[in-house]
Every structure is written in C-alpha cells, then in structure tokens.
Subunit: 424 residues, 2 copies
C-alpha cells in the first residue's frame, strides 16, 4: 500500500495518486464501518413514489436551491444564485442556473414572439420561433457569468459568505441554437455596420451593443439549454448567447437585433458596466470574463467533518479560451501543487479541477489559480484592485461593487474544520 507524499505544504497530495492505483485511503478516512447483516430500510418495505412526467430533485435536497435577492418580487432586480458548494461536475442543471431579471421573468408566448433583424442590413427580416427552429443548429457547452459576479471581493474586508453568495452569478450549460452568422447571411450586412444592438422583450427592454465581429465569430440565438427549451428565467423562448462575454450582454427574451454604425450607449453599457477606474476613466465596453477559478469544496458552509482525507474541488473558466492549468495552495499561496482537470476541457466552459488533500486539523488557507490557452493567468487580488479600484458602495448591497473580479478566493480552515473567507 502506497504512502502519500505531499506535493505542497499543509497536506496537498499528487493529483495522479488515484490514477496509479494501490492508494488505499482507509487510514485517512472516517465514516465507514465494517459490514454487518444489512437491515431493511423503511423505503425497502413497500412500493415507492409515482414516477412523474417531469422529474424534480429529492425532498432531501431542498438546500440545493438558488438564493434569491428579492424573493417577494419587489419592483427592482431579482438575483437567483447557483449553489456551487453543493454541485459537482461542470454542467449546471437548468433548475439551478443563475438568473438576473430586472423586472421579473416575462411570460412569453412562443407562438406570438418574433425576432426582428433590421438596421444596416440588406433585407430586414422577422423570424418566428418555428422558422428559427428549421435553421442549421449548433450546440456548445459554455458558461454565462454576470459582470458583477464575485463583486463582494472588491470589499476592503472579506465578507463572510458562501461560494454561492460570492460566485453564484456564473453557471454553465449546453446551449443549442442558430449561429447568428447564418441569420446574417439571410439578411445580408450593410458595409457600414459595426455594432449590433440586441434588445429583449422584458418590460425594461434591456438592450446592449455588441461588436459585429463578435456576432459573426461565435454568437448564437439559443433556443435550447441542456437539451430542453431555454428556461423562462434564462430567456425563453430565445436568448442571445455570446460565449465568454459578460452575462448582461447575452440578452434574454430577445426580440430584435439592429445593425448600426455606433453603439447605443445604453444604461447597462454606459452606467452599470462602466465603473470608474483609479485613473478616473470609465471602464467601458470591456466585455470578456477573464480567466478565473474558485474552490467550491471545501468552502464557507461546506466545511470539514473530522481529520483525514478530502478532495479539494472547484471550477475554472476563461472567456478567452480553454483552461490549461490550475494550481492549488493550502498555505495561502506560499507553495502550490497542480490540480487534475476533468475532461472534457472545453473553451469558454467550466472546467472542474480536483486535488487530493490530507487534513490533520492544522490551520490552512486554500486558494486556486488558473491559466488559459490564450496565455492569461488569474491575477492576484492586489493586482486587480490596483487596476480596477475598490469600487463604490451601492445600497442595498453591503459590499463595494465593481465589475469582473477574477482574482483568487481564499478559504481559511480552522482546527475545528470551520471555513472562513479571508484575503491572503
């Protein structure tokens, strides 16, 4: 039987330990017991529940729900955050995909809904959902992340909150729809067009300006999410999908795309997603969700239960491409070990990373750092604060708010296995 050799301080073990075999964990594990005559559980003694037409999670998994910022639907934005600390793998199930709705989820009738493409085109066209569904489709797994995800980490003091509260405005799904390049073949493009203004059919008519080059590169009009039609909160019956670009631009309940020479200077591009930089200039028209990672297990609210073996696990992703490496530290960044990346590793998609860890009640500070194939590395927290500033305090949120935080998240583990959010 192999003895584990730590590969970095505070008990990080080689990521390949379990691929080699011969690595029994018995000495490290708790929670098992020798087999004994099996008893009959109550649920084994009679017929079970009816199989429903549409399945839902066990009643024992009520905790695996989105947290709501505005559960009574008062006339302001509603946020529903993904419970990352309770999930695994890389796909976010549709019921738990994050949602931000500025005036609730409009109840769109797909038979009446239309998508217009107009402005600087040769043939303005209006499409029914049925017509769109006949076009050639493409599918891709990709994350969508709000530009404001992780903004509590701009706060001068670390806010004690779960991975769900800090990072829950980011999710990943297999999206299927029609490439916008295909639809723009239908309309033709006027040579003067540089921007596409996308507008939703929610009551605020949320609209954002997208460079035409992105639209022609990999934008999709998405009709399906993880195989089924897009969820109401994610834009049913169709949304714009801009792989790797900030969530708000992926306009939901999409009703029109206007090709134009100039951007619209809409509310969300000139105000919310245009924070003031330390230089005094606005950080405007910066779209990409850059390379990022965070540890989901263990984390605040998902701590340790006794000493021994654990797997440290988390998510890494980049709006610029594919994750190439994730390093993990258990001593606040002094020593590092490389995590295993779960296949398939796809561009602009969540990548699950994992590394084995032996915890013997010693203090530890867990951190991750990711690299992408465009040559980017996740910055340190001081680096991103220096570049972007501390942000500003915005009511009713009790944190300093800015956009596109992609620095590290640090979890401090105490002797009892409790986890706190720290800056390290």
């Amino acid at each position: 039987m192999e003895t584990f050799q730590p590969v970095a301080a505070n008990g990080l073990l080689d990521r390949r330990a379990f691929l080699r075999g011969g690595a029994a964990l018995a000495a490290a594990m708790t929670g098992y017991a020798r087999a004994e005559p099996l008893s009959e559980a109550p649920w084994s003694k009679g017929p079970g529940e009816l199989v429903p037409p549409y399945g839902t999670p066990s009643k024992h998994e009520k905790a695996a729900a989105r947290t709501l910022s505005n559960p009574k639907g008062e006339p302001r934005t509603q946020h529903a955050r993904t419970p990352h600390h309770l999930l695994q793998g890389m796909a976010t199930p549709n019921g738990l995909h994050f949602v931000i709705s500025h005036a609730g989820d409009p109840e769109v009738d797909p038979a009446q809904h239309r998508l217009a493409i107009h402005g600087l085109v040769k043939r303005p066209l209006v499409f029914t959902i049925e017509a769109l569904a006949r076009y050639p489709m493409v599918s891709r797994f990709t994350f969508v992340e709000c530009g404001g995800n992780s903004s509590p980490l701009f706060s001068p003091e670390p806010i004690q909150a779960t991975a769900q509260a800090l990072h829950g405005l980011s999710s990943c799904a297999e999206w299927t729809g029609v490439a916008l390049s295909t639809l723009l073949e239908e309309t033709g493009i006027d040579a003067k067009a540089r921007w596409v203004i996308a507008e939703g059919s929610d009551s605020p008519h949320l609209h954002r300006s997208v460079p035409l080059s992105k639209i022609l590169d990999d934008a999709i009009v998405a009709l399906y999410q993880n195989g089924e039609r897009v969820m109401p909160g994610n834009g049913y019956p169709l949304r714009l999908l801009l792989p790797g670009w900030e969530g708000n631009m992926n306009v939901k309940w999409l009703r029109r795309l206007e090709l134009a020479e100039q951007p619209a200077m809409s509310y969300y591009e000139s105000r919310t997603y245009a924070p003031i930089l330390p230089s005094g200039k606005a950080y405007r028209f910066y779209f990409v969700n850059e390379v990022k990672s965070f540890i989901t297990q263990p984390s605040v609210g998902y701590g340790m239960k006794g000493p021994g073996f654990y797997e440290i696990s988390g998510l890494a992703y980049s709006g610029n491409g594919r994750i190439t490496k994730v390093m993990v530290s258990a001593d606040g960044g002094k020593t590092w070990a490389e995590a295993a990346l779960q296949e398939p590793v796809l561009a602009k998609c969540f990548t699950r990373f994992r590394i084995p860890w032996q915890w013997n009640r010693g203090p530890a500070v867990l951190q991750s750092r990711a690299w992408d194939d465009a040559g980017n590395v996740q910055p340190s927290r001081p680096e991103i604060i220096a570049a972007r500033g501390q942000g500003s305090r915005v009511a009713p949120v009790t944190a300093f708010i800015s956009q596109h935080y992609n620095g590290p998240t640090s979890w401090a583990v105490d002797a009892n296995g409790g986890v706190r959010h720290v800056y390290a």
Copy 2:
C-alpha cells in the same frame, strides 16, 4: 450567393455548407417576413413572473414531458420516456431523463442510507453518503440505455410511434461520483472474486451481476447527475454507473455490492434480459449497448411545415467507444451522405449529428447509420432480426419484444410533410 449542390438523392446537402459561409437560405425558407414597426407584446407591458428558487420549463412546453406507461402507479413497472423529438444537443435535462422503476421510486433518506461492499473482499466496509462524498470524484458524460429500448422495432410490421415511444428509454447526462476501483482499494479484493452482485434498496431489491473487470475498468458509484444530486427516479442518493452497459445493470438506490465467484442468476439476467435466440439458446450475459443511431427531427409527430430547407438531426452512440461517422440517407438507403458530428464527441456518450436537407414535397425515406472507433457499424434491420430473432409478444405491450435493437429507424415523409415509421 452559393447554390446548394445535393450530395445524395432527395435533397441531402453537404454538411459543411454552413461552415463555409455565403450560403443564404432565403430562397428555401418560409416563416419569415420583412421587418416592420415592432409592436409591443403583452408580456412587455408590465412586470414578469417571480424568479423561483428552482427553475422549471415554460408552461408553453408541457409537451416536452416524459410519457408514462403506468401513470396511476399500479403494481407493475413504470416507464417514463425521454421526448427525443423535442430535444436538441446531447445532454438530457434531469427532469426528462428516462426512468424505469419496478415498484415506484423509493423515497430514500440519505442520512440513513448505507452502501455495503462485502463478500470476497479483505475488509468488508459500510459507507455513509457523507463518507462517499469525501472520496476523489470523477465526472463523465455518458448515456444510459435500457436493454429493451427500441424493442418495438422487432415487430414484424412497423409500429406508428414517435421517437420518444420507440427510443425514449435512452438518455445522456454528466454523472459524477466515486470510481469503484477506488472503493475496492479500500476493501481489498479476494483473488477468487470474478463477479460483483449489485443490489438496490427498492422494494424488489433489484440485483444484477457485473463482471469484476468492468467494475475495475470504468464503473462509478454516481452521486451527481448533471451537477446536482441524482434524481429520485435515477437512483437517489446513489446508483451504479456502468458506462455503455444496459440500463438495468446500472443499479439504482444502490445498497450493496457483493464480490463473488459466480453470478447470481438473478431474474433480470436469467429471464428478462436473456431472450431466446433463433438457435434456441438464451442470449444471456450480453451487456453492451452496441453502436446505434436514430433521427429525432424530423420524425413521427414532428413533421414538415411546408417545402424548403430543414436540418435533419439525430443521436448516435456506442457502448464500445466513440462515434466516428454517421451517414444519412433520404431515399431509404440507396444513396448516403455524411452528417456533421457536434463536438465534443465523447466515448459512450450521445453524439448529436446534423445534415442540411432541401425538401420539395417529394417522397423521402430518412435513415441514419453510425460507426464507432471500436470498428463496429450499425447493422441493418434484417441482420439484427436474423441474429436475434423476432422476439415474442408480451402483454400488455402490443409489440414483439426482444433486447438490444440497434438497427436503423426509417421515417417516410409524404407529400404533405407527414412522417410515418416504415421498414426500408
């Protein structure tokens, strides 16, 4: 503007047409109209619905539900079939993953549930769910398919039924859990062990015998399905996952694994999944779901709406490996064209295939045929009938029933765009 050149009879177009650009479909399309001043839809005029903690599909998508063979839960098996004709991409959303429950879905309490590994092991062990969740995890996208999926195609006459009714006992998800090889490192393995008998905690205690070699190769004790905990109908809180092997062996609500020298000769291996071959011998202990494909759009119940352009789309998969090629015919198998395969193409996983099609109201018979990287090709229907026999008529099902049908499915399109199931 490019004119499409058919690459096979009855209007099949080159799969790369839409990658090259310059291929406008306007002449082929219906359902669009020139843009006009946009009207305000009712849902754009006021606040929308409350964002819920757990999202569910639009009320307009009620048709995208599983069909139930036993909706009142009478004391017999319940089947819930995936609506393939209404889905896209390769992931099956958890609410629509197929379920077969022989006595309903047991309502298992994860805090009380235990998994025992015993028999020919060195250290019999009992695991809580919490203990299992600390082990190193693996994730993989893989299909699960009932051995009886597609059995209506053994009928001497083609049964008029949807892709859901014919092929809906097959689904695909990202499963995450602990490799059984890891757990067997913990227990140790007695040198005499050759089989593992897996038993569920449903009231019939469904059990199946699995060769130890498969268990050590790629078997998983799955705790998560598409990111969240396994659905009640799919084995909550844990199931055995045997990538590419018949569904019934992927024992749900798993409560024990007994290592043994011989198989158990359980009901499902000696009776249901042991049909009598034309030679008179039982087709027994044959586990793999071999290479297969079927067209999901168009299909029965999802026909054509006027002439013009369509995309033919479907699913291909093999329990022996990765799909390497799918050919599509629009003339009942006389001429063929190669379909595009949607990335990522993963082993033992659904692969979505697509090919563009120009339909001008002519009669057509659509078929697909798949190849895998283990060198297998989907057989013709006469080939599989000759090998396996016609099966036997089993009440209350009105079809001839046998196992592991992986021949083609043929959809005949009439001049009105209606689709019928035919043998061709």
